[in-house]
Amino acid sequence: MIEIRDIKKSYQMGEVTVEALRGIDLNIGSGEYVAILGPSGSGKSTLMQILGCLDTPTAGTYQLSGREVSGLKRNELAEIRNKQVGFIFQSFNLLAHASALENVALPLIYRGTSGRQRLQEAARLLERVGLADRMDHKPNELSGGQRQRVAVARALAGDPDLILADEPTGNLDTHSGDEIVALFEELVSEGKSVIVVTHDLEIAQRAHRVVRIRDGVVEEDTRQAA
């Protein structure tokens, strides 16, 4: 599913060039459940942005489902994000003025799905994450755990194969965090690839594979029993 070779990413910060990624190789297959673990500043977020086609690498190749994406244009990347990737953020990033239903339906707007279908699909996904009775609530009427479940439902809209989560439990209490992780396990059992970026060892240990990043390189890549 994902094949990256010698990926590098450097930023120009005034006079200084910061090398966030110094050459990363990684293969992730379909249905894998991977945790990317590392301290802050290790480059794990940058890696996730590149994996999610939000950003492009300075050097190296990235094949997503057999397609080279490292040199694509903005709109081509947007299309991949729209159809192949679902994002979950630490701070949920829900539209404050829209209901849970509309938030989940958002990616489908950019797919050109018709209004009826969008809402049907969004309702189905909200039911699936256990929020059937919260569809018309605005984000400020929901708890943190509920908001993140709305975000998971949004990531699932349009049925992408790859789910990327950046510190998904960072703003949640333990119980709500557990619910989110449980949802991830369900998704993996359905054959989706889930990549979770975290610095929380407990979360990481529930994944099938842990990739440790430090100073922009892969320090350790271990598979563990499910």
């Binding site: 942005q49 999610g52 939000l54 950003d55 903005r74 709109n75 947007a78 299309e79 994000r81 729209n82 159809k83 994002f87 953020f89 990033n93 539209l95 003025h97 509309e102 958002l106 990616p107 707007i109 950019y110 797919r111 018709s114 209004g115 969008r118 949004r154």
Partner: protein, 410 residues
């Protein structure tokens, strides 16, 4: 559905930022009022001026017979060109370039009398075409004289409205006999009051006209001082003037290049000039209004820049879930477009009210009434569309070019 979503977003923004959105709309509304009112008042002024100018006549060329200024075929300069009414009619029939024609022999200071009312008038002998050329529209119940009156040399008179009020007060003059210079004439029509800002030899309101044949029979086929013609076709007087010069110079033996021999007042040309002048005035007024509207557009652009800035994170999120650049571009532009459209609508409605109020109130005649023409609304809407586009495009481009990663971290 996408558009519906965007529209909803707009109203949410509007509620959240009432004052700011209102001020931006107000700027657009104000500019719209400026464009509409300036153009409408300019248009009314044009129409009023044209109407006043046409009070003397429309497509009218007046030619005075004058003295030669060049020696020709052994004759000294300074020779008076003389024509009689019959000569004028003969020329009018001979030249196809002339549409309508009339001699205008005139006597002024003649007494007109009805009962014991008496007034000094000027009397001219003219053709039926003269009435058309000089916009002498009869009051209902009356008429201008026609070819049969001319042929039969009927003693009929068409009198100016001032003459009428002096001789008849409020009474009905049609069919009454008046004495002109002591000779009886039947009044067949009175001039409908008209706005006339230019003339030669007095306003039409104080004149009496009779068929030129009758005039000749009464006062003799005297030399006429001037003739009145309308070109055929009406909008191009040049070929007619050339033809008249050729005709008269041959008949009266003067140099065809002698510009002093005939003195010509060409209102066709003047009309064209006036049209150009008012076109320029309209352009200037419209430009002034459009600039005001552009200032409103800058306000909208500012608001949109603020909205884009406030919504940077949201734009990042939309990009992350797959919005293409054009989705973002369209969203911002649509919002700017809606502010402009609503502001413009408000401005248009207010302008309607103002124009309606001005039309209801008395305005000076020379200024005329403001006119809300289709052209004015077309121009206004075009300018509005342009302003909406321009004020939206820059903030929209900034939004669409955001880097999703940076926008999400904003």
């Amino acid at each position: 559905m996408f558009f519906l979503q965007l529209t909803r977003q707009f109203f949410q923004d509007m509620r959240a930022r009432k004052l700011r959105t209102f001020l931006a709309m107000f700027g657009i509304g104000w500019g719209t009022v400026a464009v509409v009112l300036l153009l409408a008042i300019g248009g009314g002024f044009h129409a009023a001026s044209k109407k006043a100018m046409h009070g003397m006549g429309e497509h009218l060329v007046v030619i005075w017979l004058s003295r030669t200024t060049k020696a020709y075929e052994g004759m000294q300069p300074g020779r008076q060109i003389t024509m009689k009414s019959s000569d004028v009619v003969e020329m009018g029939r001979a030249l196809p370039e002339i549409g309508l024609y009339s001699p205008e022999p005139r006597r002024s200071g003649l007494s007109a009398q009805y009962d014991n009312h008496r007034v000094k008038v000027s009397v001219s002998g003219v053709t039926p075409g003269y009435g058309i050329m000089r916009n002498m529209i009869p009051e209902p119940g009356g008429r201008f004289f026609n070819d049969r009156d001319v042929k039969a040399r009927r003693r009929v008179a068409f009198i100016g409205n001032k003459v009428k009020s002096k001789l008849f007060d409020e009474g009905d003059p049609i069919g009454q006999i008046i004495l002109l210079d002591g000779r009886p004439f039947t009044v067949i029509g009175t001039l409908q009051e008209k706005t006339q800002t230019s003339d030669y030899g007095g306003r039409d309101a104080g004149k009496v006209v009779v068929p030129y044949t009758t005039y000749t029979a009464m006062w003799g086929d005297q030399n006429v001082r001037n003739i009145v013609v309308r070109p055929n076709p009406v909008n191009d007087s040049e070929p007619m003037k050339k033809a008249i010069y050729t005709y008269l110079s041959q008949k009266y033996r003067f140099d065809p290049t002698d510009e002093g021999a005939l003195s010509i007042w060409d209102t066709v040309e003047m009309d064209r000039f006036t049209d150009w002048f008012f076109w320029g005035l309209q352009a200037l007024l419209g430009l002034g209004g459009a600039l005001t509207l552009c200032a409103g557009g800058i306000g909208v652009a500012n608001v949109m820049f603020l909205i884009v800035r406030e919504r940077t994170r949201e734009i990042g999120l939309r990009m992350a879930v797959g919005a293409r650049d054009w989705h973002i571009l369209l969203q911002v532009m649509l919002e700017a477009g809606l502010i402009v459209a609503l502001g413009g609508l408000g401005g248009l409605s207010f302008s309607f009210l103002v124009i309606w109020a001005i039309q209801a109130a008395p305005t000076p005649e020379w200024l005329g009434q403001p006119q809300f023409s289709p052209l004015v609304s077309l121009i206004t809407i075009s300018v509005l569309a342009f302003v909406g586009l321009i004020s939206g495009i820059f903030p929209a481009r900034r939004a669409a070019r955001l880097d999703p990663v940076k926008a999400l971290e904003f």
